[in-house]
């Protein structure tokens, strides 16, 4: 085996086997918890998978949830590639929703194909704007991005609560949400789009923004792995000192990457608000920013992996809500546990299985005649 092929072998093992082993570990621990609360883990797993993939409706919901996680996963991954940990995807998505929402509320009777580009721009710009100050502070003043983005999550939450309670609330209503967007601003659903070409699928919130998310993933891949600027991002992430010697300005990369990261997270409302809720509601990201961390870690920051991992987490959410119907003692919080465990095993304890895997590979290779 040549040196190169060998390193490719390592890479594939780490990209595929390791996440699978980590996921398995997370599922085993979750299974123990399910066991503790007196339910059968096998039945739970079967119900979960059945709920997520067992029907057209299930698949539609799974992909709908996955769309949110692709956006936030890409957001976390892009920042991670440049060596930064963006915990602020939650707040950036929230503020992005303000941008997209305002466009939809102001759209009047404009046709969808005019509203969509404006909404995408507004969502991205608002999301990026919310990452701007943490980015600037990190690039110019050396403030820790983790802390500032956490603080900005809380500030976003306070700001949006204030806006929804005092400014944007529909007059005469009690609940803090805006009036409904006009139907001309709603994302066409999958059943709508496929129905036009004669394919009938179950009516679910799955909508056009799933394709936008896939396009964003392709765009991120092309940017990070196929452009000069992407090279600068990767070098900065691997070794800021080397980047400096190579004539790359780490502070400039930091700055631009965080804006991009914020813009990607800001696109979540294209799916959640324009695709399903059709209004701005309180706390609509509902933790998707944190799921993005799990998605990015599991995918090792690769866009293709992110799409796959997002589908997996979408399946957990969808399957989890189905599960709660059949098992009264298990609710959607169980899915949060699995998300947390995946983050722990993929991100914190990644050395736990990496070294044994390497040793195992060494044995297998050693047994083979050279």
């Amino acid at each position: 085996m040549s040196e190169r092929a060998e390193s490719q072998g390592v890479k594939w093992a780490e990209l595929l086997v390791l996440p699978a082993v980590n996921l398995l570990a997370a599922l085993v621990v979750s299974g123990v918890i399910v066991r503790i609360i007196g339910e059968n883990p096998w039945t739970a797993l079967k119900l979960l998978l059945g709920g997520a993939f067992g029907s057209g409706e299930g698949i539609g919901y799974t992909l709908y949830y996955a769309t949110n996680f692709i956006f936030t996963g890409l957001s976390v991954a892009v920042a991670y590639k440049a060596g930064m940990f963006n915990i602020g995807a939650e707040g950036q998505a929230y503020i992005g929703g303000l941008g997209a929402g305002l466009v939809c509320l102001a759209a009047g009777s404009a046709p969808f194909w005019e509203v969509l580009p404006a909404a995408i721009c507004a969502a991205a710009v608002f999301g990026a704007a919310w990452a701007f100050i943490p980015a600037w502070l990190q690039a110019k003043r050396g403030s820790h991005i983790v802390i500032t983005t956490i603080m900005f999550n809380f500030i976003a939450s306070a700001l949006m609560t204030w806006l929804l309670v005092n400014v944007l609330i529909q007059p005469g209503q009690q609940s803090p949400e805006t009036r409904q967007f006009g139907p001309n601003t709603w994302q066409p659903t999958a059943s709508d789009l496929l129905g036009r070409v004669g394919i009938h699928v179950a009516a679910t919130p799955l909508n056009l923004s799933f394709l936008i998310a896939l396009a964003a993933a392709a765009g991120v891949w092309a940017l990070v792995w196929r452009t000069r600027w992407g090279y600068a991002i990767r070098v900065t992430g691997e070794n800021p000192a080397a980047a400096l010697y190579a004539g790359i300005s780490p502070s400039k990369v930091t700055f631009l990457v965080m804006l991009l990261s914020g813009a990607l997270a800001g696109c979540l409302p294209l799916n959640e608000l324009m695709g399903s809720q059709h209004l701005i509601s309180l706390d609509f990201p509902a933790g998707a920013g944190f799921v993005g961390i799990a998605v990015a870690l599991m995918a090792r920051n690769h866009p293709a992996g992110i799409c796959a991992a997002a589908v997996l987490f979408g399946a957990l959410v969808q399957g989890g809500s189905e599960l709660s119907f059949d098992m009264p003692h298990v609710n959607r919080d169980m899915v949060v546990v699995i998300q947390g465990l995946v983050i722990l095993f993929c991100g914190g304890l990644d050395n736990l299985f990496k070294n044994p895997l390497r040793i195992l590979r060494g044995w297998v290779r050693g047994a083979r005649p050279r």
């Binding site: 918890i33 700001l159 003692h329 546990v337 998300q339």
Partner: protein, 324 residues
């Protein structure tokens, strides 16, 4: 006169609000001064809040609740220590993971065990909670504005944990600055190589620091569920762990300034509750959300170096590997 009473009551509310913050911030202090990022405060507190309320509800004893709260928080601390120190994993990721896991596990277990929608049963009996301790003659002293009212409201009338928190600030300062353990702890957060060279185990020190951090978070969480309120509800820490971290940064990683920051943040919180919907002269109604966001805005400004400079322990967030 009326404003005076209001002010005294406001300060009393501040002391109660500040208690979990002070405890969690001290927890963060030990962890971060040893070089381990303290993002897991939120999760450890929430875990303790659930354990304390659950055990207190079942056993009927607040003290057993406290024991369970501290034990669970220390077990979570052990998970963090194993991940961050032994496995040399990413400290931010590990802490976020623990926070998310606890946010899911606590309501799951609560639902399964008590069947009340992810809460624990309300703690009705006196022995199940740490209630306010009324000092001698506090009731009679109340009618006298000074010093009677201050005695009755500020010194008397808090739960045991409030006094414990107040006492732990000087104790922590003493441990950190006046003991050999404290010197080593601070050293390991600045320059672990030097500590290692001196023949002291970096891993052991960090394990100790994280476990102390867990114990303190355990007390903080216990306070939330069986002293400040009567039972566990979903997400009851509501970001207090992160707020404590902000206070720690605001206090520049020193015990007394950190306590000051906690009091400031708690005062803002108490004030927000008081000013809800009240129209003030000149400024009108101050939105509660602005006051809530204030600590976070101040911390960001501080981190940006706009109001003073806050420099973290040098080795923070970096796993230590021998011989590197």
């Amino acid at each position: 006169m009326e404003y005076y009473t209001l002010l005294v009551l406001l300060i009393a509310a501040t002391l109660r609000e500040a208690t979990p913050l002070v405890l969690a911030a001290l927890a963060g202090l030990f962890s971060e001064r040893s070089g381990v990022i303290a993002l897991g405060l939120e999760g450890m507190m929430l875990g303790a809040a659930f354990a304390a309320a659950a055990v207190s509800a079942v056993s009927g004893s607040a003290w057993l609740g406290l024991g369970a709260g501290v034990a669970v928080a220390m077990i979570l601390a052990l998970v963090l220590a194993f991940t961050c120190v032994t496995q040399r994993g990413n400290q931010v990721v590990a802490a976020i993971a623990v926070n998310i896991i606890v946010a899911g596990v606590a309501p799951t277990l609560a639902l399964a065990w008590f069947n009340q929608g992810g809460q624990t049963p309300p703690l009705a009996e006196r022995a199940q909670r740490f209630t306010a301790i009324v000092w001698p003659w506090a009731r009679q002293a109340r009618s006298n504005p000074f010093p009677g009212l201050i005695y009755a409201e500020l010194l008397s009338g808090h739960s045991l944990i409030v006094y414990i928190a107040a006492a732990l600030v000087p104790v922590s300062a003493w441990v950190l600055y006046r003991t050999r353990f404290g010197l080593r702890l601070r050293a390991v957060g600045e320059n672990p190589q030097a500590v290692d060279t001196a023949g002291v185990s970096v891993a052991r020190l960090r394990y100790q620091a994280i476990l102390i951090s867990g114990a303190l978070c355990g007390v903080a969480g216990t306070f939330l569920s069986i002293s400040a309120s009567s039972g566990f509800v979903r997400d009851m820490t509501a970001g207090k762990g992160y707020l404590a971290l902000a206070a720690l940064i605001f206090g520049k990683w020193r015990p007394y300034p950190t306590m000051g920051a906690c009091l400031l943040f708690a005062f803002a919180d108490a004030l927000a509750a008081l000013l809800q919907g009240v129209s003030l002269p000149l400024v009108g109604v101050i939105p509660v959300q602005f006051i809530i966001a204030l600590p976070y805005v101040l911390t960001v400004l501080l981190l940006g170096g706009f109001v003073g400079k806050s420099i973290p322990p040098r080795a923070i967030g970096v796993p230590y590997a021998k011989g590197e």
